[in-house]
């Protein structure tokens, strides 16, 4: 198998996904098959080929630094799960800070 169950759990943790045992088993099998298929790219010897990250030859775009109205605060917070005093509110990050 191209990827182990532990590697799947590691990648899931990197991607902030909490997988159930059943999901971990299923994804190990499916991701193994997919990785085996996409590993086909390694058949080609392309050491001297420049990587292509973007399909167009674009140059940087410059814009004048002109202030424009931005979203009103209540609109920006309107879809939030929780907010307080004009901020997004989240549970404690688990970090303790010494003062």
């Amino acid at each position: 198998m191209a990827i182990s169950r532990d590697e799947v759990l590691h990648v899931a943790a990197l991607a902030r996904l909490e997988l159930s045992d059943e999901e971990a088993d299923r994804f190990t099998e499916q991701l193994g098959a997919i990785l085996e298929a996409v590993s086909k790219v390694s058949e080609l010897d392309l050491g001297d080929v420049e990587p292509l990250s973007h399909p167009l030859d674009l140059v940087n775009v410059w814009a004048d630094d002109e202030p424009r109205p931005s979203l009103p605060l209540e609109a920006a917070l309107g879809n939030a799960g929780e907010d307080e005093d004009g901020h997004f509110r989240v549970p404690p990050t688990g970090m303790t800070r010494e003062s």
Binding site: A15, L17, L19, S20, E23, A33, V41, S42, N79, P91
Partner: protein, 475 residues
Amino acid sequence: MGGGLVGATLDTLRLTAEEAMGLLERGEVSRAELRAAYYDAVAARDAELHCYLRLTEDAEGEGVPIALKDVIGTEGVETTAGSRILEGYVPVFDSTVAARCKEAGLSLLGKTNTDEFAMGSSTENSAFGPSRNPWDPTRVPGGSGGGSAAAVAGGLAPWALGSDTGGSIKQPASLCGIVGLRPTYGTVSRYGIVAFASSLDQVGPTTKTVRDCALLYGVIAGRDPCDSTTVDVPPVEVPDAEHLKGLRIGVPRELNEADGIERGVADSVARAIELAEGLGASVEQCSLPRSVEYGLACYYIIAPAEASSNLARYDGVRYGPREAGGSFDEMVERTRDAGFGDEPKRRIMLGAYALSTGYYEAYYGQAQRVRRVIAEEHAALFERYDVLLSPTSPTVAFLIGEKAANPLAMYLSDVLTIPANMAGLPGLSIPCGLSEGLPVGLQLVGPQFSENLLFRTGHALERALGFDYVPERLR
């Protein structure tokens, strides 16, 4: 009122957007009658087809109505991208394409179903249930833009917008017997579109005819200060020529003889090639040796890598439902596990793996090199040919459930559309015949910014083919 054109008798299955525009301009039909005719069709058929995730019955606009795929952000109208993790999300601004449709007077009928985050080839990955093919409701309409394609083919919208990363406009158009354009990368703004793979995503039209396709592309194309990857676009020409004199068509062997292409699909495409020669085009076999063999693998590294980055933003903080958790990390992990379906999870993990230390060069770096090989192979062919021709999809519409349990089999649906997409090339799919009673799509690919040439070629072929886009069982 013109003869027989009162609202109740408008045949939305046959009416093109261009014809609808004419009826409105001549005052033969009112805006309200036109919208009512489409909503009548929705009432009659959407319980079966499930094209729409929501309707927008009080939308403004005096022109021809339109449906938008639910990855396209619409101010004040819920936009979910087919995912639970965006359920209840109501954008506070319009995407540029939605704004351009409004400026052109197009009135929104509703938001159409899509595979979750546009990841899929059948709409079966939608968190809100699959759409069905108007030609045969036991079959998929293709994906991810299956809702838009089924709506147009089933007469539930005169035209619609989709988005295409690996084939999500072209393949559903093919499976539903209509026209779909994936424009050149950079010609249509991605501002306000729910992002999947940013170096590949493009919005484009899904229509009944090539002329409608050109008209709608003209509405949405152009540079946008809000999307720095957009460029100036040549003026769009609505095609009317009915010959192909002087056109050089290349027929890449690998795209026309790939494993898995059904006999009936190959036969329909062969007949279209004969017609093209009859219209004055020269046709020659050519080759894309590495683009087709390595294209799918290249795509399924690059697109998931970009997706894993784009989908990191769904954390339960700024939008979407939130799961309770004792700490920030726990809240984020539970929200993402509950909110994402299997396909986004697979692609996020695949992408995170391909980008992770120790694997980056072997997967992502190598895939980017393959991508250049694909772009250069296509560029070399365009020194000898104006247009490349192939089937759009190796198969006609498959049965609902047929490929749902096997992600790799589903990925193969896009094997013929992916190579041109990796190279940023425009592709037009037009219907070219039936196989076992189901539509077959013909893919025309041109150099970057050759949309006008694709429209001319597609229009001339469309006239010669005389394909009837009304599903047989609904005639």
